[in-house]
């Protein structure tokens, strides 16, 4: 019986395993050094905040794996010998595979800051990061202040986590406005204000210079680059993005760049070795996507795809229309299609913001053809299926704005803003 070994028990690896099981009776082994069972990484924050217990982040009960004949092995893969199809573990044992799927995900970026490996300095990605945070920031007596470095999605989640325990937070953001490499200015500025309204000390245009240690090798303070200010703190969160977690592969024959290089079939340069999820790097980005996409659902799609390929139906990875979502403290964000922070050539943005400063949308469209290109929504839920259809049908922006209510996904009885949006859109056309 063919033995499929999957390194990594995140969403990509587990999806691959589940689908291989659906399609075949191959022997399947999932390896992880992080946790015994699959859990939802995106939910770690809610464990710290006390919304859920860790067990609630596990989508499958513990008996699921045995029942579906998916072997789980706890271990850390140290090296891969592709010639003999053998994995070598840090613990000293080995494992033979017939097909290998690398799904090791990401690790937090560190940019060589002085003091970045001190006690009390952590990313927020692995289960172990959460354990560390619980140790160094259990409450606002032990942790009198936390500093977060890096203004992305994980950074703001970490800020929300710490605030839930009333720990003062200073948030150092390199950019001139929060996440404005991705969000258009209006939106980014609205989120700036929202962050500050939660009493988070947001410092824009601010870089970390170094992290200072106390006499026990634990963080004592950070120093900023621009002003040289020293900010005393007990915890430093490094959330300046993530990169593929592939250090153990670098010495093998498997070709890597920033991630493990794969073709559209998710195959590496070595036969019978595949890479999926955050750690996989496409030779070139698909559509307007980046070569590496550290997004939950692309990991899931790659898992499904590679399962097909391994079970004899070799198909390409085709991720369809771009979408994503996040939550900034109390404001939900969804995006469908492409809205770039600065409109590209031939692109124009229509922006609407509600007076309460917690809801807005930005619609991106083609200046000449009026084709609808994408939408960002804040504080209003939108229906994925509707936008997916409109994007695929290449609808015009007028059509989209006029039919916006069809795409509304807010709970019943919520106030709707489609008329106001339509009015603003018409006004903009008249003044333009």
């Amino acid at each position: 019986m063919e033995h499929v070994v999957i390194i990594g028990n995140g969403i990509s690896g587990v999806t691959a395993a589940r689908h291989i099981r659906k399609l075949s009776d191959k022997k399947i082994t999932i390896i992880s050094a992080e946790t015994d069972y699959f859990f939802s990484r995106t939910a770690l924050m809610y464990v710290y905040m006390g919304h859920m217990k860790f067990e609630h982040t596990q989508p499958y009960e513990n008996w699921f794996w045995k029942k579906n004949k998916i072997d789980l092995k706890k271990g850390f893969v140290k090296a891969i010998d592709t010639a003999s199809k053998t994995l070598l573990f840090a613990e000293g044992d080995t494992l033979q595979y017939d097909k290998l799927i690398i799904a090791t995900g990401s690790k937090p970026n560190k940019f060589g800051w002085p003091g970045q490996d001190l006690n009390g300095v952590m990313g927020m990605y692995h289960k172990q990061d959460l354990d560390t945070l619980e140790k160094y920031a259990p409450n606002n007596k032990v942790c009198k202040r936390a500093v977060i470095v890096g203004g992305g999605l994980i950074g703001i989640e970490l800020a929300e986590m710490l605030k839930s325990r009333n720990i003062p937070v200073t948030f150092l953001v390199r950019e001139s406005s929060f996440w404005n490499g991705v969000l258009p200015d209006n939106e980014s500025e609205m989120i700036n204000r929202h962050i500050k309204s939660h009493h988070i000390d947001l410092r824009l245009n601010t870089n970390l210079k170094e992290i200072i240690s106390d006499e026990n090798g634990k963080v004592k303070s950070v120093i900023t680059k621009e002003t040289g200010e020293e900010i005393p703190c007990d915890v430093v969160g490094l959330t300046a993005g993530v990169s593929p977690n592939i250090d153990f592969i670098k010495d093998s024959n498997i070709e890597t760049n920033r991630g493990v290089k794969v073709n559209r079939f998710l195959e590496t340069n070595i036969p019978d070795v595949y890479a999926i999820g955050d750690c996989a790097e496409q030779n070139e980005g698909i559509d307007q996507r980046r070569p590496i996409e550290a997004v939950w659902y692309t990991g899931r799609m790659m898992g499904e795809t590679v399962a097909q390929t391994i079970c004899g139906n070799r198909i390409q990875y085709k991720p369809g229309q771009w979408f994503n979502s996040a939550k900034f403290l109390d404001i939900e964000y969804q995006t469908y299609g492409w809205v770039f922070s600065k409109p590209r050539e031939h692109e124009a943005h229509f922006h609407w913001k509600h007076e309460d400063d917690t809801k807005c949308i930005t619609v991106s469209y083609h200046k000449d053809t009026n084709q609808f290109l994408g939408i960002n929504t804040f504080g209003i839920r939108m229906r994925h299926e509707t936008f997916d259809t409109w994007l695929t049908e290449k609808r015009g922006v007028d059509y989209v704005i006029e039919h916006l209510s069809e795409a509304n996904f807010d709970p019943e009885f919520y106030k709707t803003f489609e008329l106001e949006i339509l009015q603003a859109y018409k006004n903009q056309l008249q003044t333009a």
Binding site: I11, S40, T42, A43, Y46, V47, M49, G50, H51, M52, K53, F54, H56, T57, Q58, P59, E61, L130, D131, L133, E134, P138, N139, K141, S164, R165, N166, S197, H198, W296, Y297, R300, M301, M302, E304, T305, Q308, K318, P319, G320, F323, S325, A326, K327, L329, D330, E332, Q334, R381, R383, H384, E385, D388, T389, T392, F409, P411, E412, F413, Y414
Partner: protein
């Protein structure tokens, strides 16, 4: 981290989630109010009962209101579940256990030893706690209080003040606000005031909470009630007919249009208590598959039990002689058997595919049992029905289901098993409405394509123990008989994945692979449909 959470049994809280000064004052005010009730319970003679009753209820309410204001009003609108699993009361910690035990003891006394609360026996006047409530009872209906009046008053106060807390907690969510306003209204008006006023206007009428429908009020068709209805003339007859119409006509129509939520989370008093006072415990419901299996067997067994029991009760006071009254024992049994056969046949013909294999076997099993019991009667000359005396069946049901299950366990165990234990495992009304919802209803919870990140908030906060995430991550609409449509899964979702909707019957169960999966040749797939 996790080792810490397990310590919530200890009095020492893991983190600084203590009460603010204002909240401590609020707790003190509320406790003073409760203390007056305790004094009354210990037979303290109050010179002015009206004053002290008012004082007690006002202090309890004011304490809760101040506490809620401080908990929510100084935070921004949004989901505020911070620290739920660190708090002793809401994570099966020692406060949770103490609360559960006190509530359970209260229910045991209430149902089985009301004289301990001061209920006057054989026309004697009330003493103790119940006497404290006499002035209010005289005001409303002109008679002394009973233990049920005391309970009803406290129950209503709980729904109103915790309803207020709920309104604040979900003040960003209009669905939750309107729904909570609805349950508060129905409890205050329909369950509490109107029956008392009805008694005052026409004391011949049986005490009737109009929104309580058979089989939830399993006693509705007992001989003494039927007699009272008929004795009360046209009004009584109208109420009797309304009782029957609400089972066979009103309920199915509303459930078809809106799902069973129109009742379970908008109207029902049990649901009202669960949604308001029980909100702090909703995350404690068991989500394991084994709990789901137990749930299905227990709730449907209760339903079968109540059908048999009611049939037996009605049978017991019907005659054999057609000349006296058209509805005879044989005819009644024939009607019941015919009706059940019809429902069973329709389900099996049209909806067989929608039932799981075990559900199908279960339905067949129950159907055979009922028909066998009815058949047994025909072939035996015994005066007893179903091998038991109807009286035995009735008292057994009243004790096991009516008291122990719906009261003692259903509410007493809120802090241990979550807020909807009764609704989920025991309520025969929920079973009937759930069956209707599963088989024919425009209601479903839709999922938003591929946006689910499997975080598990929806499943954790589902008070009915549904693993919502299992559907959401598949992009599959949620059509479940147990869903009461409380809307919290949609509220707690950080990615806007869930929405409660009434839509056409077509395509209500649809795993949406277009948006979830790879190889999206969308137009091909869309055109194929």
């Amino acid at each position: 981290m996790s080792h810490k959470l397990n310590h919530s049994m200890s009095l020492a809280k893991p983190d600084s989630n203590g009460l603010s000064v204002k909240q401590k004052i609020a707790v003190a005010i509320g406790v003073v109010g409760l203390f007056i009730l305790v004094l009354a319970l210990l037979n303290t003679e109050f010179s002015n009962k009206s004053l002290f009753l008012t004082l007690a209820l006002v202090l309890i309410s004011v304490g809760t209101i101040i506490f809620s204001n401080d908990a929510y009003l100084n935070k921004s609108k949004g989901i505020k579940n911070d620290g739920v699993w660190f708090k002793s009361i809401s994570s099966r910690g020692i406060l949770g256990w103490i609360t559960g035990i006190i509530l359970t003891l209260f229910y045991i006394v209430l149902y089985f030893y009301p004289h301990l609360l001061g209920l006057g026996k054989n026309g004697e006047s009330n003493t103790g706690l119940i006497a404290l409530f006499d002035p209010l009872s005289f005001l409303l209906s002109g008679r002394p209080a009973s233990q049920w009046f005391v309970y009803g008053t406290l129950y209503t106060v709980a729904i109103l003040v915790f309803g207020y807390k709920f309104l604040l907690k979900y003040r960003h969510n209009r669905y939750e606000q309107i729904r909570t306003g609805s349950v508060m209204f129905f409890q205050l008006a329909f369950a509490f005031l109107i029956p008392e006023f009805m008694y005052r206007l026409n004391s011949n009428l049986p005490y009737y909470d109009l929104k309580s429908i058979w089989p939830l009020n399993y006693y509705n068709f007992e001989r003494y009630r039927i007699n009272q209805f008929i004795d009360a003339g046209d009004i009584g007859l109208a109420l009797l007919i309304f009782g029957i119409v609400s089972i066979f006509i009103i309920t199915p129509i509303l459930t078809y249009k809106y799902g069973k939520r129109w009742y379970c989370s908008w109207v029902c008093g049990c649901g009202a208590l669960a949604e308001t006072a029980g909100d702090s415990f909703r995350q404690l419901s068991d989500k394991r598959q084994v709990a789901w299996k137990i749930e299905r067997w227990v709730i449907h067994s209760v339903l079968v039990f109540v059908v048999l029991m009611t049939t037996a009760v009605i049978y017991s006071y019907l005659g054999k002689d057609t000349s006296k009254y058209w509805l005879t024992r044989d005819m009644f049994l024939g009607l019941v058997a015919g009706f059940l056969t019809l429902i069973f046949a329709l389900t099996m013909i049209y909806k067989r595919k929608e039932l799981g294999k075990d559900a199908r076997y279960g339905a067949i099993g129950y159907f055979v049992i009922i028909l066998a019991l009815i058949g047994l009667h025909y072939f035996s000359s015994d005066t007893k029905l179903f091998l038991f005396k109807s009286e035995t069946l009735r008292t057994t049901y009243g004790f096991l289901i009516g008291s122990i299950f719906s009261g003692v366990i259903g509410t007493g165990f809120y802090p241990i098993f979550g807020s909807r234990v009764w609704c989920r495992f025991g309520c025969p009304m929920a079973a009937i409405l759930g069956f209707q919802q599963r088989m024919f209803s425009k209601f479903r919870i839709t999922t938003n394509g591929g946006q689910c990140i499997s975080c598990g908030n929806c499943s954790t906060y589902c008070e009915m123990g549904i693993d919502v995430r299992a559907y959401a991550q598949k992009g599959e609409n949620i059509v479940r008989s147990s869903c009461v449509g409380c809307g919290i899964c949609s509220a707690v979702c950080p990615r806007g994945v869930l929405k409660l909707e009434n839509d056409s019957m077509k395509g209500r169960i649809n795993p949406n692979e277009i948006l979830l999966g790879n190889d999206v040749d969308l137009m091909d797939l869309v055109n194929k449909k």
